[in-house]
Symmetry: C2
Subunit: 382 residues, 2 copies
């Protein structure tokens, strides 16, 4: 066993409460009671912003993230490093920071500055770890809403997000319809599918079977790095599409392979890609945060939200729901279903079945497909 699948020796760079430049935090009122009964004190929400809030305080775009990204959606003066949606957000871009005040929030339970398992529990003065209370998508949305109020933003121009963020945005709009003018939900679902639950369950099990998980009370920066690396690889097999991999990797071999490499060592390019990308992730993401946010997605089921079923109330906001034809994790039928449910209770719902080969990750990588779709929506909203 020579070149591959070595035990991970990298250094984990996140630290409790650490924030990179440009990240701000805001306290929300506590104690905060969560949907499944947990109570938190001293809750903070980490966020980054682009553009200025106007005098009417009505040009905010609230952006939720997927499971793994932090608040750094785009470069800024404070942090010029390109963000995870660099092609979408900025001066003159589809989400135009000369026009809008974009606010990207880190989800409750995550590890990039918002309160989560790596935070210090005020009651014990130690990190919560796996004692952190159970978090739901609804909590993530509710906490972001409280943060908006703390910022003096009573209503947002648009709430939006992709994947987990698209679920949170969908719920946010349903829960606070009079505080939202527009909703954009991308590659999300109204209710987690058994396939997605199965995959995520397996990822969690891979993490918790790593003895370094220690029932969730590992030392942060150590922990189940091996399990996280493998769980991330499993994620990667569902984030793109088999067709994309066929075009991209085919059956190409890696250039260098040790003479004593054996059948379980890396041989194909696709194996090397998985290894490389999974290692990057392990350096950044806390295992417990992963478990909490992963399960939050499983639990999500907004299909019977009272505002979707109401015969009296009409939802006042405009909606754009986007699905990707090649997404195997959150299939386009799920987004079609989200849109159909909204359309029962709303007069202005658009649905796009976007053709992209990049699967669930399309919104992160397919600039050509996404920029026009988002551009048209914001042009019409302006």
């Amino acid at each position: 066993m020579s070149i591959a699948h070595e035990r991970f020796e990298g250094k984990v760079v996140f630290l409790p409460g650490s924030t990179t430049s440009g990240v701000k935090t805001i306290h929300i009122p506590s104690p905060l009671t969560l949907q499944r009964g947990g109570v938190l004190q001293d809750v903070v929400v980490a966020y980054e912003t682009w553009g200025e809030l106007n005098e009417a305080r009505d040009n905010a775009i609230l952006l939720f993230t997927g499971l793994s990204p932090g608040t750094h959606a785009a470069s800024s003066k404070e942090n010029p490093k390109p963000g995870w949606w660099e092609f979408m957000i900025g001066e003159g871009k589809s989400i135009d920071s000369t026009r809008y005040h974009v606010i990207c929030v880190n989800s409750l339970g995550s590890c990039f500055g918002s309160t989560g398992p790596i935070s210090i529990n005020p009651a014990t003065k130690r990190q919560y770890g796996f004692d952190f209370p159970e978090v739901t998508v609804e909590d993530i949305a509710n906490v972001a809403n409280l943060a908006m109020h703390e910022m003096g933003i009573e209503s947002v121009h648009t709430v939006m997000g992709s994947s987990l963020g698209g679920m949170a945005a969908y719920y946010y709009a349903l829960e606070f319809p009079n505080e939202v003018a527009n909703l954009v939900s991308i590659s999300a679902t109204a209710a987690a599918s058994p396939f997605a639950i199965g995959v995520r369950s397996l990822q969690r099990e891979i993490v918790t079977c790593d003895p370094e998980w220690k029932e969730g009370h590992y030392e942060v920066g150590k922990g189940p790095l091996e399990g996280m690396r493998i769980a991330r690889k499993l994620g990667l097999t569902t984030y793109r599409s088999a067709d994309e991999w066929l075009q991209r990797f085919g059956r190409e071999r890696v250039a260098e392979r040790a003479d004593d490499a054996d059948l379980v060592d890396i041989e194909f390019q696709v194996e090397s890609y998985l290894e490389h990308n999974a290692k990057k992730f392990v350096e950044k993401f806390d295992a417990n945060s992963y478990l909490y946010l992963s399960r939050a997605m499983d639990w999500f089921d907004s299909r019977e939200h009272p505002r979707l079923l109401s015969k009296q109330e009409r939802l006042p906001f405009r909606s754009l729901i986007i699905g990707i034809s090649s997404d195997v994790l959150f299939t386009v039928e799920e987004q079609r279903d989200m849109a159909a449910r909204l359309a029962q209770a709303s007069d202005c719902v658009s649905f796009i079945d976007l053709k992209s080969p990049y699967g669930h990750d399309s919104f992160l990588v397919d600039e050509d497909a996404f920029v026009p779709a988002i551009q048209v929506f914001f042009d019409a909203a302006a």
Copy 2:
């Protein structure tokens, strides 16, 4: 952590050289040099049969299996337990044992009686374990051909198989075209796709990361049972289809859940299904055999077999290639490609894009779809 994901405590029932009743073994000439350079002594092939070989010795159906089944494809007098293709093979069935002599072989490298990692290495008197030489799909086919010759069968009526078995059958027909009258290859591929390689690579890594794997030299019956259980779950996520799971499990919860169950314990039916099925597998299958046969599939690439490219020679056998519309692991495009390649070199190729919701596993479970497809082929061949 209460009801789920416990460390596996079951008893592993396979034993080196053990055979259940009805399983026969045949020695093939040794030493046997394998495609990737390994040399084996004392090679045996385990097999079961149904029906009688006729006087002309031309009614044999050679059946290769997928990665995990043994030779017990159907019940018999010697072993009345239902087999893995019970609905297909037997008196008066599509593969009619009153007409044909069906021979189901255990693949070289497997753990159900044919020579493999759990066999005793004659040179050391100890089990090979991970010292077993690398095995390819081509070796599996070649060894079965030698077994046919040892049985006095110079030519088979049909060579057939599904998944790994469909790859072996495809290669067998290409390599021994004058010893084959008909080929049936189901849910296979002419060359492993990067998606399938990625998934299998991850399964292997899950197994080899289990400390009980011990670099492949565990005590058989112990070994990486935890890793095997999780790897099998990953397999199960690719063997069916997301749609089938949606119909079958929806978002149903398990009936009983301990009061102290937490977010990583089993809650959804789909999680319980994965757990139940994976545990069954771990009881039956050797981890090293799994690694060898899994990698053999990755290596397989018969797209440039000389007989497919030959401008002179025409392949004399009839072929039926079957793909399943909902198969995500071996997509129907791959079977279409197999058929197209055969059609370049052959005058009688049928391809069926079979509609079934059961994904890669369809041939095992969808009697209504498969029985007529196979029936028609054998009726025409009779």
